[in-house]
Amino acid sequence: MKYNFNQIIKIISNPKIFVFTIIWLMVLVFVGTVEQKDIGLFAAQNKYFSSTIIWFYAIPLPGGLLTMTVLSINLFSFFFKPNIWNKNKLGVLIVHIGALILLIGSGITSVFSKEGNMIIIENEQSNYMHSFYYKEFTILNLDEYQDSIEVINFNEKLFSNEQILSYSNLPFQIKIEKYFINSKISPRENDDLLPLRGDAIKFELKEKFPEKEMNENISGIMYQIISEDESVNGYYIYQLEQKMPEVITINNMNYALLLRPARTYLPFEIKLEDFQKTMHPGTNIAKSFSSEIFLIEKETSRRILIEMNAPLRYKGYTLYQASFAELQDGREATVLAVVQNYGRLFPYISSIIMCIGVLLQMIIRIPGLMKK
């Protein structure tokens, strides 16, 4: 049976699809919110809202990503319905446009946004943020270039067992043996894998159940170096909070290997000039804190105050005063939460457009209602 374009549009734009997807999204929000208490926000978000399929025992159910995609296609197809573009339906069209803008904004946010934190000690500066959630395996090529270090980052998505990490400019490959989102280090009990190198000689990594808060997890990785230099080949371990990277030398060139929170480098630097905190009277509970910073870009810098409820917005990044830390040597550090979200204005724009659409449709309908 052949369908023409109009028939296909009629099926895809069926209002029932819209209703069922909205109801299903409400179910996902409810279930995700309840389970978040046990598994944490990030895990719940990944399981229910960023996934294509959710497995309920052996039954596949649509995840948030698939549901939103179906909803988007349903709304898109509305504009291709025959006879939809007439002045009596102008308000409805505008509401639909507003809804689509909201979905487009959420898509832009989910695909392109980045968030993390910057921890800067007083009188020091930084130009990158750490991801809250994701890790990267980093290899620093220290000696090949005179004035710079080549940084090669492998995304956490590549950390499946037996995965080989390689890059054309490196004289070695990394084979992932095990990666744990949360791990603990314990004395080595078996020597199944040989040769063991570095900390792996005495210690091994064991998996721990992930904590609800992602920043409480200490990720760990066991990997094998494969190269032509037998003195370097072998099995290594690295845990996230280890002080020193593993440094290997091949052909008189030094390479540093480490697991770290994924970094995003910013197009500017922040230098912390002074951190101030005000405590609630008679307590050790901070009432407010602020960071006086220099924003440094190329050769120029300017002084800016970042306070709670007064973030810095610059070049698409928003830096919020999130927290602080006191170091053992008495120095203070500011913790800035950094967000880059190109889609942040879309909800405001879509809300305004939808309100305009609703008002317009009411105005269009009033003469007809008055006649009745």
Binding site: N4, T69, G107, L158, N254
Partner: protein, 190 residues
């Protein structure tokens, strides 16, 4: 009708493409070498200073090295000497010395044997050890010093300074005395 259907399909494809787009899983970039990649604590902190022999040629510092020297030997070889600092105890003596041992194809040793063979010295920075590692088979050697910088009450290590050179056994023996004097000369200068 045909143009509408084509437009619709293009829009759907764009939507799906954007939805499926992911960042590259391998990213590569370069960062400028600065004094230290481990800490950015360069501004108010005291600087390390030293006295090096005239024939030691200082090279530009790199990100993991505070300083480097090229040292010529009698037989025309050039030995590389590096000075690096890391926060805290940087893994400790056993881990670092065994890493160097692996670099010249020596088997690891436990901390007691390492310390028995080490040379204990003292300077303005306090007590430290010099380690001499030799592989007679492949004629490779490393001479290195690990200098802990302690806090005011000598209870914890704020920073560890590594001075290291590697080359053939004979070349390093020739430079050993200069190396010892160089290590003794290292101090903090405000």
């Amino acid at each position: 009708m045909k143009s509408y259907s084509s437009l619709f399909l293009y829009l759907i494809l764009i939507l799906l493409h954007v939805g499926c787009k992911t960042e590259s899983d391998i990213t590569v970039y370069k960062i400028k070498k600065s004094r230290s990649v481990n800490t950015q604590n360069n501004n108010k902190k005291a600087k390390l200073n030293w006295t090096a022999p005239n024939h030691w040629i200082q090279k530009a510092p790199t990100d993991f090295r505070l300083a480097s020297f090229n040292i010529s030997t009698n037989n025309g070889s050039i030995i590389d000497l590096s000075i690096t600092t890391f926060p805290g105890d940087a893994g400790g003596i056993e881990q670092n010395v065994n890493r160097w041992r692996r670099q010249i194809n020596l088997e690891p040793e436990n901390i007691n044997i390492i310390l028995q063979a080490a040379q204990k010295e003292s300077s303005m920075l306090g007590e430290y050890f010099i380690f001499e590692l030799k592989n007679e088979i492949n004629d490779q050697a490393i001479i290195a010093a690990i200098i802990p910088y302690l806090d005011n009450i000598q209870s914890s290590v704020l920073e560890t300074i590594f001075i290291k050179m590697n080359g053939s056994n004979k070349n390093l023996q020739e430079l050993k005395y200069e190396f010892e004097l160089f290590c003794k000369s290292i101090h903090w200068q405000q």
